[in-house]
Amino acid sequence: MKKRQLLIIVISLLCTQRSFAGVSDSLNVTDIIERSLQREEYYNTYAKLPSMLRFWDKGDFALISSGYSSSKGDYTHPQLLFSRNLLEIKTESVKTLSKKGLRFFGSVAYTNGNASTGEWNLSYYLPSNGSPFYYMVEQEGTWKTQSYDFNVAIQKSLSNRLSVGVAFKYLGDLNFRTFDTRNESYTLDMQILPSITMSFGEKSFATMGLFFNRVKNESAIRNKYQHGTEPERYHLFLNQGLGTWDNSPSQMRTIDARYGAVASFRYLKGSKIMDFIYSIYIADEDWLLKSVSTLQERKENIARYSYFCQDFAVRYRENRESGSWISNLDIKNILGTGAVYKETVGLFQDNYELFKVKANLYLAYLRERSLLRRVSANINFDNTGQNDFNYGHTIDYNNLEGTLSADLSLGSIERLNFIIGGYGSYKMNISGKHNPMAASGNFYNTQIAMPAFAYHTSNFYRVGLVLGTEFNLRESQRVEVNLKGDFIKPVSISNYESSASFTLEDNYMNISVNLVFNF
């Protein structure tokens, strides 16, 4: 797998070099802030709608970047990252072949690092899709981690009214525990997304797309060294809910197959652009035994998480001579059900449900050639509800985080430019309710649910600083150096203070440095 991915990276880098050896208009974009918006704009809108690349108005660009990020602290989710150090190399570009009506996007990234995670985590991450299924072990973990991320999109204009596009994603994520019995986790995430865009006059554009996303995980879980008389070093668990677990899981692979559709509508009015994007998918995450004995007549599929996800986004851009307004609204909703196969009755029995809504509202105003380059406000809302039917164990919480930020532009855009930015945010828990019911004595409740609930329902503030500089290396080559850091500190613990994995004296810090070569 490694060789194949390395080959892809090399080929992609060569392609990038060949494609963009000519004149690039990367530098038409004025400064670091504009350039970061350019990339965000791609991922916010065009990555979901490749046929819309026809209307990409930010110009071609190409970059190679390398960065280092480090995070550390005790104020974190008790199962997740207490520290992480990552090195990333990335290349990304958009290229237009106007005469042929083609536009391309490509990106390749490689990360390598190490991390330490909390107790009851043998999967490195917790499932992002809301699944209750993951491997657990009491001991904390130290990890080596690598990822290979490859994205490409192609758009072709078929006529004045019609445009088609297709996007591919290939992500390999490899995580290894570095001591004990070297547990391993390999994830391969592949997606294909074709779409078609139709113009209705000069101002209205509609897009329809379909996508298939397959996330496959192969784990090697071991709790003893592979010698004859070695004792088990620890007990393995497969979590199945909020207290429901299997304490002797077999070797399994996981396939999460997602089938979805996306629809969007763009409306132009003067200098205003408005996009409405709605995507929806249904998915089954199946846990399959790696080996099945025909003698035992055991079913291969022993657990399933079925979920439905919808994502609604609104993008608004208004460009004026003095500056521009940017507004983004994102709302994501997941509704999932976990089921475990019961051999005694020969059926899947539902035992878990999840409901989650995450919303984000971002408003920003950018001033051209001004000391105060950007001001922005952001509101994040998170509503999560979990329910384990076996135990009647429920967890619900609502959180809100508000952020204000400002960026100053110093120096000369033409020569040496400096950006100094800062932001501050406050996260508050609006409500939280935890009822373990029949799981009150279960170790999942006392050692996982209670510390996690203490973390989720705590309030914190976050302050951050961004320093950036940019200068021309040659006429068509511009270099950026960015330094970012933020500091998070809890201010109150609303629930289970004595069970929390942190105290009010703890904190969490992130720092990153990034060198970007634009050409």
């Binding site: 008389t229 609604f312 307004w325 039917f389 429920t394």
Partner: protein, 416 residues
């Protein structure tokens, strides 16, 4: 922009509300209702206000409820799962005299194992308390799991068990038997099959040893123990960093090679070592034809037995079809004391002793896989008398009576 912002805010709010409707599924909890009764022998004992305990064999959580005046304990809002249910009542010497004819305290027990409770079900169960007066000689400790951190030099060669005089009179070990109970399967693996033979009048021994002596050669004083080691060797000296034990102070050891050779069979020179300074147990029965020795199973149920002659009646293991495995039948009435040690909390179906000998069972780790951990199962202390003599717990329920200790503790209760 102002008009737009208002529109945008409306869209945001409307979208959020549209995405927020959710109603949770009701929990699928269950009820267990237990009615406590007494056996015919103890008919008339008060059954009110007696603790009844349920153990969820999947997550190992316990819950205790007291019986009401009608002798009923009701467990509400419990997770559907598999449960062991138990209750225990200690009768004072005065009360016990009315039922047993002996002026000696007795504990009566009852256990139900592996009761499956389905979602939303009310499971109605009956527990019948029964028991017999505690023995004078008891099995105080069983160390069968093998050494930890030994670099594979010891493995399970350091096994021992200890017999303890829990009475105030001298007892004699001469001619008593010790039976290692079969089958080896103790519920560790998902593929383990239950033996399926009845446990009402006999239990099934895979190995039998007998204490040497003529009748009064091997006395055991009140509050003192006698260790029987598989090999009477100082393993601590051999591997100082291992979790193991010095077995040179054992009162007896085992050695099967000479006996097996006399029967035309072969022993195991690697695992079986004789210490000539320590009296050797008599070999009576070993259900392995060749290369066998008197080691205990990892999860070892053993019984101390008084019989007038060697037991000889055997029965074939019905679960093994690829070879012939035989067990020797031991009458339950001949058992002085027995402890059921199984692999894990969910192994109740693999019990090797009937409830009137051991109404529960014990394990070193709730999730099993405790071999090569240096863990040992030891009887708890009931009380220490002013004379210094330790009286150990003997409620005929090893779930209650035994505790897990590391490292093993031979002679730890011996009166100084």
């Amino acid at each position: 922009m102002r008009k737009f912002n208002f529109t945008f805010a409306l869209i945001a709010l409307g979208s959020l509300l549209a995405f927020s409707a959710c109603e949770k599924q009701a929990p699928e909890l269950s009820i267990i209702q237990v009615t406590l009764k007494a056996s015919a022998a103890f008919n008339g004992v008060t059954l009110s206000n007696i603790p009844v305990e349920i153990t969820n064999t999947v997550d190992n959580t316990k819950k205790v409820v007291l019986t009401n005046p009608a002798g009923v304990a009701k467990f509400e809002d419990i997770a559907p799962s598999t449960y062991n249910i138990s209750s225990s009542l200690e009768l004072s010497p005065e009360i016990a005299f009315n039922y047993t004819g002996f002026n000696k305290a007795v504990t009566i027990n009852a256990t139900l194992s592996s009761i499956t409770v389905l979602p939303l079900q009310t499971s109605v169960q009956t527990l019948t308390l029964d028991g017999k007066a505690g023995g004078d000689l008891v099995i105080k400790e069983v160390y069968s799991l093998g050494a930890a951190n030994d670099g594979y030099a010891i493995m399970f060669k350091d096994q021992f068990f200890e017999i303890y005089n829990n009475s105030d009179e001298v007892q004699y070990l001469d001619k008593l038997y010790v039976a290692f109970l079969g089958p080896t399967k103790a519920g560790q693996n998902a593929n383990d099959v239950v033996l399926g033979l009845p446990l009402t009048s006999v239990v099934y021994a895979s190995k039998i040893l007998q204490f040497p002596g003529t009748g009064t050669q091997y006395p055991i004083q009140p509050g003192m123990g006698a260790v029987v080691a598989i090999n009477a060797i100082n393993y601590k000296e051999l591997k100082p960093l291992a979790v193991t034990v010095d077995n040179t102070k054992a009162k007896f050891d085992t050695y099967a090679i000479t006996w097996l050779q006399s029967l035309g069979r072969t022993g195991s020179t690697f695992f079986d070592v004789d210490n000539p300074d320590v009296p050797t147990m008599n070999c009576i029965f070993l259900n392995i034809q060749n290369n066998g020795f008197f080691n205990m199973d990892d999860y070892a149920s053993i019984a101390l037995v008084r019989l007038s002659a060697n037991p000889t009646e055997t029965i074939q293991d019905p679960t093994v079809t690829t070879s012939q495995i035989f067990y020797t039948k031991i009458p339950v009435t001949a058992i002085i004391d027995g402890v059921d040690i199984l692999a894990k909390s969910s192994s109740a179906a693999f019990k090797r002793l009937p409830a009137n000998i051991d109404s529960g069972f014990s394990y070193a780790q709730a999730n099993g896989s405790a071999n090569y951990t240096g863990k040992s199962l030891r009887r708890k202390i009931s009380k220490t008398l002013p004379t210094g003599r330790v009286v150990v717990m003997d409620t005929n329920n090893s779930t209650v009576d035994l505790e897990v200790v590391t490292p093993p503790t031979p002679y730890s209760y011996d009166k100084k």
